[in-house]
Amino acid sequence: MSISRYSGFSRRQLLSGGARIAGGIAVGGGLAACADSAGQEASDGLAARLDTLTTRDALRRPGHFFSIAQFRLLERISDLIMPETDTPGALAAGVPQLIDRMMVTWALPETRSDWLAGLAAIDARARREHGVAFARLEPDTQFDVLSRHDGEALSASDRAYRQMKSTIVEAYYCSEPGATEELRYDPVPGPYRGCVPFDEIGRTWAT
């Protein structure tokens, strides 16, 4: 986990106390639902100061796409979708960082908007159902909110959510820990055996 390169915040700060800062940053981000959460922090001095910044880019960290608030939300969602168990989860696999990099080096503006909308929709659900930003909910409540969102978004063929979930899943299982620790990975199998008792393999082939 190399969270330290994100502006010197520790993981703990990002997961708990960072909400104020994050909310403030989202004000200028032009992102409707995350901007909602910023309303909570309207009296926050930092938010007021950041409010004076007018360009979206100025609120972003150089070389990154997501604002700190958005990134923190992405981290939580990645962690909830692919948690650490007896094997590493999405955070240890660097999934949020990969996705942030993909937004910079791969995605078109429309795709980026989809991602922001996908994150915003989850945050909006938290606010609708619990009156606070997703980031401020207890982990168990976050899990409940995301689980319900997951079921409804998939059955409604919500493009943004489906893209987000499948990319998080892919980024995880194609990571080194995801492929080699959680699943079975053999880059050079050598022989091919077409019909093998499953117990001999024991889990899904990563590739």
């Binding site: 299982y173 019909c195 117990d199 001999e200 393999i201």
Partner: protein, 563 residues
Amino acid sequence: MEFDAIVVGSGMSGGWAAKELCERGLKVLVIERGQHVEHGADYNDMQEVWEVENRGRIPEAELDEHYQVQRGCYAMNTANKHLFVKDSDHPYETPEGKPFAWLRGYHLGGRSLLWARHSYRLSEMDFEANKKDGHGVDWPIRYGDLAPWYDHVERFAGITGEKMGLDHLPDGEFQPAMALNCAESEFKAHLEQTYPGRTLLMGRIAHLTQPTEEQQSLGRGSCQYRDLCYRGCSFGAYFSALSATLPAAERTGNLTIVTDAIGHSVVYDPATGKASGVRVIDYHTKEGRTYTARMVFLCASAIGSALVMLNSTSERFPNGIANRSGALGRHLMDHISGIRAGGIYPGHEDQYYSGKRPGGIYIPRYRNLPGQEQEEFVRGFGIQGGIGRMNWTRGGGEPGVGVDLKEKLHMPGPWRIGLSGFGEMLPDPNNRVTLHPTKVDKWGIPLPVIDCAYGENEMKIVERCKADIVAMLESAGVQNIEVGGDPAPPGYGIHEMGTARMGRDPSTSVLNGWNQAHDVPNLFVTDGACMTSSACQNPSLTYMAVTARAANHAADLLQEGVL
């Protein structure tokens, strides 16, 4: 330097022309329009899955700007992007409402680095088809003419497969076949029992499973079952010009390769009535130069070779060299592709496989065979596909998050079957490639205009094929069957052919039975352009066989002093 032969193109066909001519002692110059690619060093097949840039996704803006057509190729990703052309550099035009996908790579080895490697012989039925039903002209050769050359190229290239004894899909010189998996074996048994006359076999693919001494001497080894073929194979386990034919040509000491040299035209010498050489444009400097030789082999792909010929005008051939017939550029065919259906194949949950097999199953043509009642269409189709267990990729679309999801994906999902038809296209003179009258590319060469569409017979084949696939899936108890929509537009089969067809009559065809231009005796065209009909089998093996045959014939003629 004096050359006996110039070969234009270094891919599937060009590699074979170079090898055979060099081995016959001729000094050969291979002209490749694209960049040099080094076998092994320029492949990304040793990247771990987590090292592949952006998990294989090419930046969307780059796709929009440079790969509007190529992005439609199933095989393209960040690890092999350098093996596809930039459409922005190599445009072509199509009439409104008639899309044609020209999927290609310009580099040493050409599309032999990116092919799907299925290798099937055409049969007597295929060579007789035009004569029997009257579509197109008669092939000037029959299966017997090509059979020894199929043997020859299969032994060298290395084709895995099982002998089945089918008249309409002749057996070859095979290396041991790859195995079917448990579900495929059961599906085969069920299919063959339910539908007498239909056969399912493991695809015959150009991979080594028991390398010969000759193959080993070229540095080629056995397939490692990585299924990373579309990145190039450092083991040289699948056949390509870079793993096999060009190294074989090179070790004769008779081969010269020039890359970044775009074939512009064949130079015609009215005094001798022969081709005297090839004019090229330098990719970098855009300057022209001419190479001379005693014979010319065009192996630049069906569309590529036709364009070079159309652009080779002279007083004798104002409409393109060797084009007295007017057939040049016409009768463009592909295979109808994208006829698909699939679903969940029940059972076998306690079974799996080990290794990633780089090819699937094949159901050879079973309709309109000799002796059968004829359908409401002529010709036929074959079906490819496979059955495998679903992996973690199903996770993006299935409900559930967290530990439950992770535990679920820890185990493979159900087996899933996918079948995909490849249909025969008839030769139609209206399906053609021409030179744009005014527009030129960066190198001053006229843009191709590709005008190609499926006809009535093709659409009947699509309907029958799709219905057959669905019925076969249903009869096997496949669940949640999903059926694809319209077939892919022409081009997506990536089997272009027919633009300089062989024939018996110089007034209706461009080439004779030796791939030799009727009108210009030292000009040979041995890529897909030569095909008089398309059959429904993957065509590369046939291009290899006709090339080897033509090259040896040309060497004979040179030896005899005829050329």
